[in-house]
């Protein structure tokens, strides 16, 4: 960390730095869409576009949460199992206790924020490296989700309307012919809200500042620990929303699910141009990254590409995306 990396205003950063990478990512997204459309008439169908968006929603929300943590120079490996844990909490509140839906929603988001706060405390106060702290949280939450649920899926059949959180479509009921699922709209709202926090609030400013040069921020008299904990808690709350989305989509809390989802979220963040070394990143980029992952996966399936090759292609795309970012930054310097 050198003086060159000293924090610049978050707002300017949001719109200037990383713009090329976003453009590049966006261009790749468009290229993928055009390519798959030409390759198969089944790709550019309304029902398939809806399926792609639906597949993006959970990973997208997780990726937005991870983006916050990564910008601070940290990493969160626990988002996958934390999502599951929050879904299970919602299941306990709604199905086991029989409380009305708003309580389940609050409980899931609250559980996520609390877990995030725990991770934040491990990182900020106990000085455990984020990789280790969140690795520990990942395992703790995986186990707790199984313990609390009694290792069985919890179904939401007694909570009418719960499945509509993700599967329903308010947009579709207003604009017939555009049945965008609520889950996707929630992803967009979460993204807009988080982009606002990053670009327009002190919390967002410190998020970038911590990732650029934490020591400088501390020396200027800022309580970096508290801000860091707040950011992890915010990310946790967003993960809680992802937990609600997946639970609603499956109409059940699946306690064994979750491992591996953190890596896909991190992949989306990285494709979107956010630097793993912190201090740089955008929510729009992450959103595009998550869309690229979903379009790629869906498109390769539509083309009936053998599954083993789908994985190879996805891996190659991640490396290409980050390489392009490196080249751009080297030329910029």
């Amino acid at each position: 960390m050198s003086a060159v990396d000293a924090p610049r205003p978050g707002l300017g950063r949001l719109f200037s730095a990383g713009a090329t990478q976003r453009l590049l990512a966006f261009a790749s997204l468009v290229a993928l869409l055009v390519g798959f459309s030409l390759a198969s008439p089944n790709f550019m169908q309304m029902s398939n576009i809806i399926a792609i968006l639906q597949a993006t929603s959970v990973n997208g929300v997780l990726a937005v949460a991870v983006t916050l943590v990564i910008i601070t120079g940290g990493i969160d490996l626990s988002v996958g199992t934390m999502m599951t844990f929050c879904a299970v909490i919602a299941g306990v509140v709604l199905t086991y206790w029989g409380l009305p839906m708003p309580f389940g929603i609050l409980a899931a988001i609250g559980a996520g924020a609390f877990c995030g706060l725990c991770s934040g405390t491990f990182v900020a106060k106990m000085k455990i490296p984020p990789f280790i702290a969140t690795l520990g949280m990942m395992l703790i939450l995986k186990g707790l989700a199984l313990v609390i649920s009694g290792t069985r899926p919890i179904y939401f059949n007694d909570t009418p309307g719960f499945d509509l959180i993700s599967r329903g479509s308010i947009v579709g009921s207003i604009v017939p012919g555009l049945p965008i699922p609520n889950g996707v709209m929630i992803l967009f709202l979460v993204a807009i809200g988080t982009a606002y926090i990053l670009g327009r609030t002190i919390l967002g400013r410190y998020c970038f500042a911590l990732g650029s040069n934490e020591e400088a921020v501390r020396l200027s008299g800022v309580n970096t620990d508290a801000w860091k904990m707040a950011i992890y808690a915010l990310a946790g709350g967003i993960v809680g929303i992802a937990g609600l989305l997946i639970a609603s989509r499956l109409n059940s809390a699946q306690p064994a699910l979750g491992l591996g989802y953190e890596l896909e979220a991190i992949a989306a963040v990285v494709i979107g141009g956010t630097s793993l070394s912190g201090g740089r990143g955008t929510i729009l980029g992450t959103l595009i990254g998550a869309l690229i992952m979903a379009v790629l996966t869906n498109g390769l399936r539509i083309l009936s590409v053998a599954q083993e090759w789908q994985t190879v292609v996805t891996g190659a795309i991640i490396i290409l995306a980050v390489y392009a970012d490196q080249v751009r930054r080297r030329t910029a310097n």
């Binding site: 089944n42 399926a51 059940s252 591996g260």
Partner: protein
């Protein structure tokens, strides 16, 4: 929004009927969405499906999530398969409920669904091709009792506690022991996720805790191989190991006597029957509601019998 979706479905169905489909068998396309992919068992199911595809002259694709917890990934695969307007779909549900909206969509579009492996808890599938896992695990319990003379302590190393097969095999074994063999005690049921290493460690801990253990049942390929490894690493003699499914390592263990025997399903048959039923349903022929694909006990004495060798895979 549901009405909208219904409309789309109806339009899809109309398009399907309008197209001169079924006229040539070459046009028939059947995607199979399985519960897994990398595991040798699923590769054997795929081999059976490919064999049927070749014989019947249809196109088949085979996909499944990386592991059996990824319920939402499987739903995404099903959605992509539906987008391709297939003539029929083969589907092995990780969680039946989660898939219902998409299965309903398939039904509305007139796409017959064939459930395979563990089936789907719904009346939408026109047929189900699967193994009776409860009966198969009960057979494993009978064999265990026979081999340990009806008394002693046994343990179960299961692959997971949430999937249908995990639950059925555990319960099939445990309930038969409890009901028929009062002198056999099940000391523990542990879950290793079907992971070889995890199951090995579990087995070693179980053996450590129970020096007088008489037998262990491993509920799938990974669990069974893990049990064999654990028993070997601990150097324990005289523990009766019973496995499930096949695979190179398990077959070797049975040949060299480390494993007493195992239950095998008929994965090739599952794949084959699924595609056969799917093509029949796509052509409007009637198909039986349940297709029992069978299971067998195999040990050193019959492992090379043609009937058994045909359903084992490496």
């Amino acid at each position: 929004m549901l009405t909208r979706r219904t409309l789309f479905g109806a339009a899809g169905a109309l398009a399907l009927f309008a197209a001169p489909h079924g006229a040539s068998a070459q046009d028939v396309y059947v995607p199979l969405i399985s519960k897994g992919f990398q595991h040798q068992f699923w590769q054997a199911v795929k081999a059976g499906a490919d064999q049927a595809a070749e014989e019947l002259g249809v196109e088949v694709t085979f996909e499944g999530p990386d592991n059996e917890t990824m319920v939402d990934r499987q739903i995404d695969m099903l959605a992509a398969a539906l987008a391709k307007n297939p003539d029929a779909i083969g589907f092995a549900a990780l969680d039946s409920q989660a898939a219902i909206p998409l299965l309903r969509q398939a039904q509305e579009a007139g796409i017959p669904v064939i459930a395979f492996d563990s089936g789907v808890d719904s009346d939408i599938p026109v047929a189900t091709a699967s193994t009776d896992n409860i009966a198969a695990a009960a057979l494993a319990a009978d064999k265990m009792a026979e081999l340990i003379d009806g008394k002693g302590k046994v343990a179960v190393v299961a692959h997971d506690q949430t999937s249908r097969t995990g639950i059925d095999r555990r319960d099939g074994f445990v309930k038969r022991i409890e009901a028929e063999y009062p002198d056999i005690e099940i000391v523990t049921v542990q879950y290793g996720g079907g992971d070889h290493l995890e199951s090995t460690e579990l087995t070693k801990a179980i053996l450590q805790a129970n020096p007088d253990l008489a037998g262990i049942f491993g509920t799938n390929e990974g669990s069974a191989v893990g049990v064999v490894n654990g028993v070997r690493e601990m150097g324990r003699e005289g523990v009766v190991v019973i496995g499930y499914d096949s695979g190179t390592q398990q077959k070797e263990a049975i040949r060299d006597g480390t494993m007493a025997g195992a239950i095998t399903q008929n994965p090739v048959g599952i794949g084959y029957e699924t595609v056969k039923a799917a093509v029949a349903a796509a052509n409007g022929d009637s198909v039986p509601k349940t297709i029992d694909t069978g299971f067998y006990w195999y040990d050193k004495t019959n492992i090379d019998d043609p009937e058994i060798a045909a359903v084992l895979y490496d």
